[in-house]
């Protein structure tokens, strides 16, 4: 083993398969680092656990929720369904914007109602039968609140839309009426009703 002159007095008589050891002091900064982490650990346990001064994770959560409520108010108090006048637009640009929302992977409408509204897991949107009402306000309510028990989250995926966007989506859905796409799903006659009044009322009834 190569040993420097300034190390000769530190060389211990240990030898293992030719390996020698020096008797250097432990680096002082390293020792202080160790002492500091121990002191920090003791302080941390005292502060959060023994004395209970620091918040528990549940208290932190309550603080976070309280801060959010103070800033944004309680989400339930707003009711966009009631506070907006819902109509159906026949404007091509509104319908096209609605179609884009319908096909958007963030809203996920098409994954359950099909690319052409023919219905997959979700009901057919192109026939005259409706489970939750056929007034523009009913359709908007269905979109905004969803039917979480049935698998439809608010706004289709929980991702919020502005009222104007919901209006466009309602307009697009209205435009699908009577299109009779391929693979159209049959209506569930136990739950669905034909539309009898309003802008989407079936002309035959």
């Amino acid at each position: 083993m190569k040993v420097f002159d300034d190390e000769k007095d530190k060389l211990l008589d240990h030898e293992y398969d030719g390996i020698r050891e020096l008797d250097n002091h432990m680096p002082v900064w390293w020792l202080w680092l160790f002492y500091f982490t121990i002191a920090f650990g003791v302080g941390y346990m005292l502060y959060y656990q023994v004395l209970g001064w620091g918040p528990t994770q549940h208290e932190e959560y309550q603080q976070e929720m309280a801060a959010a409520e103070a800033r944004f108010g309680s989400q339930e108090q707003e009711d966009p369904v009631e506070s907006f006048t819902w109509t159906i637009s026949n404007d091509e640009s509104d319908i096209e914007a609605g179609r884009e929302l319908y096909m958007n992977p963030n809203q996920l409408c098409f994954t359950c109602h099909g690319n052409n509204g023919q219905g997959l897991v979700g009901p057919n949107l192109t026939d005259e039968y409706w489970m939750h009402g056929c007034q523009p306000q009913d359709i908007a309510s269905s979109i905004i609140n969803g039917y979480p028990d049935m698998g439809m989250l608010p706004y289709g995926s929980g991702s919020k839309l502005s009222n104007e966007q919901v209006q466009q989506l309602v307009s697009y859905i209205a435009s699908l009426q009577g299109t009779e796409p391929d693979g159209a799903k049959a209506a569930d006659m136990n739950r669905a009703q034909p539309c009898t009044e309003g802008p989407l009322a079936s002309s035959e009834s």
Partner: protein, 732 residues
């Protein structure tokens, strides 16, 4: 004085070396395969045995226990006899150790892709293999301790201290974490449930890192650094202090894997502070390694052995600083469940374990073949491929992990989640997944250069199977009474081993015993009921498919998580979860409150083709769940085994279980048929298929605290047993 002549067994060293390289390449390639599956979900098609959830445990087991495991034996079987000046105690035990370990690895290669797994991370192998591991490990330990007993060197060198700590602690960890009740020949349930199971699992999981990937490699470092650099160890005192502090403190740190979960706060806090206290003991090892190189740095430029050692020790220093930082609660809140952790572990795995292993291979191979390394230049090229490979692996994982985690937490100015669709956050980081695969490829190419280089080296030399050495026996075993206490301890292997055992037991006992015995740590929730037989079958399929590799079942108390997933998870919800399935990584969203969130038909379509419900999803398709039949034959045995580990099914319920299972499956299937799903993609949906069981399980998750429904009420057994299919204690 008499001098003994003896022979080192290089044959066993050679065997372990070949096994290290062989399994290493396989483990790396499986890793690359799963990395590619995250970019191209249909890579290799949708074959059950090659699906992500089954291959990912194969990758981790292969690199930890096959690559690093064989490397540990390689290093120990080479260095220990030389440090003891004695041949290994028993050649027969050495051989049993070798072939037994390879047989265990082979059994993992077959069972994990078949979905035979316990789901516990780094302890996935089922109970018969667990027993084999314990036996082979103890054989290794006996061989090692007896060699030490028969040594000709009075004192134990620091490398041997680390080997002893490795043997003792891994034995304790493996046995305690694997206490399970077999249901069938290849299926068992752990005796621990929920919070306790998570605590034991991460006490084990974290200390697998500590005592399988750290302490043996520190021992290896202490042998090969001074040998390769031809320099004395920097500080004997530092060795003593960092050895004892490291093994004492490490064992406490497991709960840092469970911060902000349902684990009691005091245990989490212990995990945090003991992790922070670990910085200095870990760095003690790094310092002793690097400072030993004083005056040898010029040779680091040329010698590939020293290069790999230096980059390994440096990566060790970085990882062991990063680990404690990640254990600070609010840092952990960002990094946990994200790819940051994947980057963190690969920094250690690729460069620390990989670096030291390749250093050993380049050091030992020429010596046991009495020749020179075939090409130093090629080894240097390997070094750069390995280092750059690790850089291209780790940095994208850090970047992607933080990016995705911040997206999970981001709110809009209206106070809504900015990215409510989990998929959007996944797609954002796919380029990072691609870079990671590129880095991994570089690393593997480098390893292939090493294989060629080592092969040519062996070819050019003459293998020395028995290497002669001479030493004097220990003259006077008691002639050291004037030594200082630690020096005396170093000459008493029995006391040393016993003291090590005591030191490593303390932390685990203090953390586990109160969690298991003090009721207030897991407040009971009366509406939480055991799973029905069909849900048990679904849960076992969930485990077999390795769903927990990508999906957590633990919602942390953060606004961003309760907004996304629902109410945060409570300890009392998991009391019947044998094993817990909290998971450690969210490649997909958390599933703890998935019950009732989507209709059954959504799950059916999603499992058949995830893109049909979630466009752009990187989840693999599971078409076989629609065609493979569930296992109805062993449901009674599984109910009995679950009762044995503490789930309160009434005596005799196992005889009713199959009828209950079929009734519940029929109901779900009828519902699907009524919703228009008699077939999906040409596959007929019938009530005996696995998909029905997994839907039942997913629909049960996280709903018990919402109401007081008894899931057994509607099942046929209630007519026979009343509501008593659960023992009375569950109803209270």
């Amino acid at each position: 004085m008499a001098v003994d002549t003896f022979y080192y067994d290089n044959d066993i060293v050679k065997k372990f070396g070949i096994a290290t390289v062989f399994w290493g390449i396989i483990g790396f390639l499986v890793g690359l395969t799963v990395a590619l599956k995250l970019i191209y979900p249909d890579f290799l098609g949708f074959i059950p045995e090659l699906s992500y959830g089954r291959l990912r445990p194969l990758h981790t087991n292969a690199v930890i226990f096959a690559f690093a495991g064989n490397a540990i034996f390689y290093g120990v079987y080479y260095s220990l006899p030389r440090l003891c000046k004695a041949e290994m105690w028993s050649k027969a035990l050495s051989k049993i150790n070798f072939w037994g370990w390879q047989a265990i690895i082979l059994s993992a290669v077959f069972t994990l892709p078949l979905g035979i797994t316990t789901s516990k991370e780094y302890a996935e192998l089922e109970w018969p293999i667990d027993i084999a591991i314990a036996v082979i490990w103890v054989i290794f330990g006996i061989n090692m301790l007896m060699t030490i007993w028969k040594r000709r060197e009075r004192h134990l060198y620091v490398a041997i201290w680390f080997y002893i700590a490795t043997f003792v602690t891994v034995a304790v960890l493996h046995i305690v974490n694997s206490i399970e009740v077999p249901a069938t020949i290849l299926k068992s349930y752990p005796v621990y449930a929920g919070v306790q199971d998570a605590l034991v699992q991460w006490w084990y999981g974290h200390n697998a890192v500590a005592f399988f990937l750290t302490t043996p490699f520190l021992g290896i470092m202490y042998y090969f650094i001074p040998k390769a650099a031809n320099r004395p160890i920097f500080s004997y005192r530092l060795s003593i202090v960092h050895f004892w502090s490291l093994i004492f403190l490490y064992i406490w740190a497991g709960p840092h894997h469970l911060l902000y979960t349902a684990l009691p706060g005091w245990a989490q806090a212990l995990g945090t502070v003991f992790s922070l206290m670990l910085i200095a003991p870990s760095w003690g090892g790094m310092l002793n390694g690097l400072l030993t190189l004083r005056g040898a740095w010029d040779r680091v430029r040329e010698d590939p052995v020293l290069k790999f050692l230096v980059v390994g020790i440096t990566a060790y220093g970085m990882s062991t600083f990063e680990g404690p930082m990640l254990s600070i609660a609010n840092v952990n809140a960002i990094a946990h469940y994200s790819d940051y952790i994947i980057g963190h572990v690969h920094l250690g795995a690729l460069l620390w374990n990989g670096g030291l292993t390749f250093a050993m291979l380049y050091y030992i191979t020429p010596r046991i073949y009495k020749t020179d390394l075939y090409s130093i230049k090629l080894a240097n090229v390997h070094f750069w491929f390995a280092t750059m490979g690790a850089v291209f692996y780790v940095i994208p994982m850090y970047w992607g992990g933080i990016t995705q985690s911040l997206m999970w937490k981001e709110f809009t100015s209206e106070g809504l989640l900015a990215y409510p669709n989990f998929l959007e956050t996944v797609q954002q980081i796919i380029p990072m997944y691609a870079l990671r695969a590129f880095g991994g490829t570089l690393f593997i190419i480098g390893a292939c250069f090493a294989v060629y280089n080592l092969y040519r080296t062996a070819k050019s030399g003459q293998f020395v199977a028995a290497e002669e050495d001479q030493a004097q026996p220990i003259a006077d075993p008691a002639g050291n009474s004037n030594e200082k206490w630690h020096r005396r301890l170093e000459s008493r292997p029995v006391q040393f081993t016993a003291l090590t055992l005591v030191v490593i037991l303390i932390g685990g006992i203090i953390e586990y015993v109160p969690t298991a015995l003090v009721d207030s740590n897991v407040p009971t929730i009366s509406s939480v009921k055991p799973y029905t037989p069909l849900e048990i079958e679904g849960r076992d399929i969930y485990i077999a498919e390795g769903c927990n590799n990508c999906h957590s079942q633990m919602i942390r108390p953060f606004r961003s998580e309760t907004e996304r997933y629902g109410e945060y998870s409570k300890a009392g919800e998991f009391v019947y979860d044998h094993p817990h399935l909290w998971g450690s990584k969210r490649t997909g969203p958390d599933l703890h409150r998935s019950g009732g969130k989507y209709p059954d038909s959504w799950h059916l379509r999603h499992m058949h083709d995830p893109n049909s419900t979630s466009p752009g999803s990187i989840m693999p398709a599971y078409p076989w769940l629609l065609s493979q039949e569930m296992d109805m034959e062993t449901i009674d045995e599984r109910i009995s085994a679950l009762r044995a580990v503490g789930v309160p099914y009434a005596e005799g319920y196992e005889d009713q279980a199959l009828e209950d299972l079929k009734a519940q499956a029929d109901e779900i299937t009828q519902g699907l048929h009524q919703a228009g799903f008699k077939e999906v993609g040409g596959i007929e949906i019938t009530s005996d298929k696995q998909i029905i069981a997994i839907i039942a399980y997913l629909q049960r998750l996280g709903i018990d605290i919402k109401g007081n429904n008894n899931p057994f009420e509607e099942l046929p057994s209630s007519k026979v047993l009343g509501t008593g299919m659960l023992e009375q204690k569950a109803q209270n």
